[in-house]
């Protein structure tokens, strides 16, 4: 059993008690909600005649259903309008702070909370969304929950949970030029598999992780869930502290020093014991692209799609399903795969640094004919900053559509969808069948830089050929 890791310390600090059944009752320090997974929870609360216990610990925004072209109200989609209306009402009725469209602080919940300084080391964070693991980048224990658990957090600010095991993923050396956090996490998931993390929290550590910016660390922790780990985290350091400083909800000046001392005390250290340690050599990672229907089915851009006999017997069934669905031949090169749609955005890669990298690649280039390309900033703040830097102009000049913030084609609950069996190059996190809105649409996951490169060539390309020219 793990001991003295950040996970253990934070868990113990938040344990309210052990429940008779043997699970722990855990206090949730920060609760984030959005329009899709909260209405039924508020409904259930009402049915049970309960109130929100600590409204000051819950924050709301709207992201999944928002249109990214025309955001004027009422939305054209009546159901979307109904969902945002329900959230607005629930927040007012229960005295919950809501970062609505036009507030300057709306956006994808996992982009917004760190931006506002809500996400801090040592917290337990829950949200009705599996990518809540993102917030672990700050050294918090953050995980996704379902709607009934959202109800429980609203009602009691606590959850009944089983303690997770802790696996350290030690990333040695550094990523090479043109290789990004997204490539590293896709590589890790490929190496470990999509089920390996079930029952675990992943601690990402090592020189390659320390070298990453906070936004890159969020990309890593974001996709822990795609490796099966409900929660992923990185020990906080000076970069973490300076990212948090002076944001709307970060600690006041008077509490700042105390906060830092406390945060430092939570870090894993030489006394920490893990259930498991795995080493990854970051210098070996190539720009990585998925070819299948799980985020674990990926290859380096210069590699071939594996043949069946090169795949672990346990993964062969889904591999066959993937060849058929994706219309790929085993052994085929991934490079050169024609692309119809390019999407830059999502809680994995819709932050300002992602847009900067993509814009850098796109500068002085044009999107290939027949490719539809669009960029959806992760939040209103990201959009504002991008405009200030003139990134929107670079995107537009290249032939990208510039959209309003939201989840958009990451899951296609708005009108941004693939059509038929179109192939998308996407900076998001899931390539599941039908994920991007068409029941036979095909998604290739990659870094924003690689999406930009694909948009220029109209096919999967190695971004290093563009940036190293």
């Amino acid at each position: 059993m793990s001991k003295n890791t950040l996970f253990d310390k934070v868990w113990d600090l938040h344990r309210v008690c052990s429940l008779p059944g043997g699970s722990d009752q855990i206090f949730i320090g920060l609760h984030l909600i959005h329009e899709v997974t909260s209405p039924q929870a508020f409904g259930a609360l009402k049915d049970k005649n309960l109130k929100v216990k600590f409204p000051s610990r819950t924050f709301a925004t709207v992201d999944h259903i928002v249109p990214t072209d025309n955001q004027s109200r009422p939305f054209k989609d009546i159901l979307a309008e109904q969902m945002i209306g329900t959230l607005e009402k629930n927040c007012i009725d229960n005295n919950i702070k809501f970062f609505n469209i036009g507030s300057g602080n709306q956006g994808i919940v996992h982009v917004v909370a760190p931006e506002l300084g809500l996400t801090q080391p040592g917290m337990t964070i829950a949200c009705g969304d599996s990518h809540t693991s993102t917030h672990g980048a700050f050294g918090s224990i953050a995980f996704g929950i379902g709607t009934s658990q959202v109800r429980d957090v609203l009602a009691s600010q606590t959850l009944a949970m089983n303690r997770l095991k802790v696996r350290q993923i030690w990333c040695e050396n550094n990523l090479s030029n043109g290789v990004y956090a997204k490539d590293l996490i896709l590589h890790i998931i490929n190496q470990l598999g999509v089920k390996a993390g079930v029952g675990y929290a992943y601690e990402f550590a090592g020189p390659a992780i320390s070298a990453l910016s906070m936004e890159e660390r969020m990309t890593i922790c974001n996709m822990s869930i795609e490796g099966g780990a409900r929660c992923g985290y990185i020990n906080p350091d000076e970069k973490t502290f300076s990212y948090i400083k002076d944001r709307l909800c970060s600690p006041d000046v008077d509490n700042w020093q105390q906060a830092i001392i406390w945060w430092k005390s939570l870090r894993s250290n030489t006394n920490s014991i893990y259930d498991d340690v795995i080493k990854i050599d970051a210098s070996q990672v190539e720009p990585t692209v998925t070819w299948g229907i799980t985020p674990g089915q990926s290859v380096g851009v210069n590699q071939k799609i594996p043949k069946l006999n090169e795949i672990d017997p346990n993964d062969q069934f889904i591999a066959e399903e993937a060849y058929e669905y994706m219309k790929f031949n085993p052994g085929q090169e991934i490079k050169g795969t024609p692309i119809d749609v390019c999407f830059i955005g999502s809680c994995t890669n819709g932050r300002i640094s992602d847009l900067r990298v993509a814009a850098q690649v796109l500068k002085h280039h044009k999107v290939a004919r027949n490719v539809k390309a669009f960029v959806v900033p992760g939040s209103e703040k990201v959009a504002e900053e991008a405009k200030k830097e003139g990134l929107d102009k670079i995107f537009k000049d290249a032939g990208f559509q510039w959209r309003e913030p939201g989840c958009s084609m990451c899951l296609a609950m708005n009108s941004d969808k693939l059509i038929g069996n179109q192939v998308s190059a996407s900076s998001s996190n899931r390539n599941f069948k039908g994920r991007q809105g068409s029941p036979n649409g095909r998604t290739l996951l990659m870094s924003p830089a690689m999406v930009a490169a694909a948009s220029i060539a109209g096919k999967v390309s190695d971004v290093r050929d563009i940036i190293n020219k």
């Binding site: 938040h14 309210v16 008690c17 429940l19 008779p20 059944g21 043997g22 009752q25 206090f27 320090g29 899709v36 997974t37 209405p39 039924q40 409904g43 216990k53 610990r57 999944h64 159901l79 969902m83 801090q120 040592g122 917290m123 009705g128 969304d129 599996s130 996704g144 929950i145 379902g146 709607t147 009934s148 658990q149 009602a155 009691s156 600010q157 606590t158 959850l159 009944a160 089983n162 999509v194 089920k195 079930v198 099966g228 409900r230 909800c249 970060s250 600690p251 006041d252 509490n255 906060a259 799980t294 993964d315 889904i318 399903e321 899951l411 296609a412 609950m413 069948k433 039908g434 029941p439």
Partner: protein, 205 residues
Amino acid sequence: MNQKFELPKGKITQIYGKCISLVGDDIDTDRIIPARFLKCVNFDSLGKSVFEDDRKDLKGKHPFDIEDNKGASILVVNNNFGCGSSREHAPQALMRWGIKVIIGEGFADIFYSNCIAIGIPCFTLPPKIIENIQEYMKKKELFFHIDISNSTAKSKDLNFSLNIKETSKKMFLTGEWDATSKLLENETLIVEKFNYLPYIKFNCK
């Protein structure tokens, strides 16, 4: 789909029902219920949309459409079932179609806790045994009598002892799976925690 749907309530100790098998690892929640059905403010109408895209694809041959599987309530699956999104809509859709129990090789974490939270016990069995059950079901209908306190599944000619987390098992036997009231019993301790955690006071705006 079953005609009458009743939400589970209180203690869950025994379940008797027909099995339905769904073969394949890593069946994600986007497949169980595609995102377009998440545009709802209650779960009531999800049952008919469960596996909608997969079903359309198989034109009537999907297990959830096959006539013989009508009325089934015990779902038999393989590994990492329910991976992906945290949407409770997935187990809700299964439940509203008629599923009351799931037996599989393994479940994704969030899906598993969602099932517990809405009263669907999930049991595991080793891969080989699941395969055997699924093979058997290709030939014959299978009805199981599941006893949660002994963790057993019995039919006319099969007999298994199932695995379930001890904590989950207790929750079903005591009715604690419906957690809210249990959690609220510790109200004093919760308030103490709130007052004790340093970061609650870091920002006083």
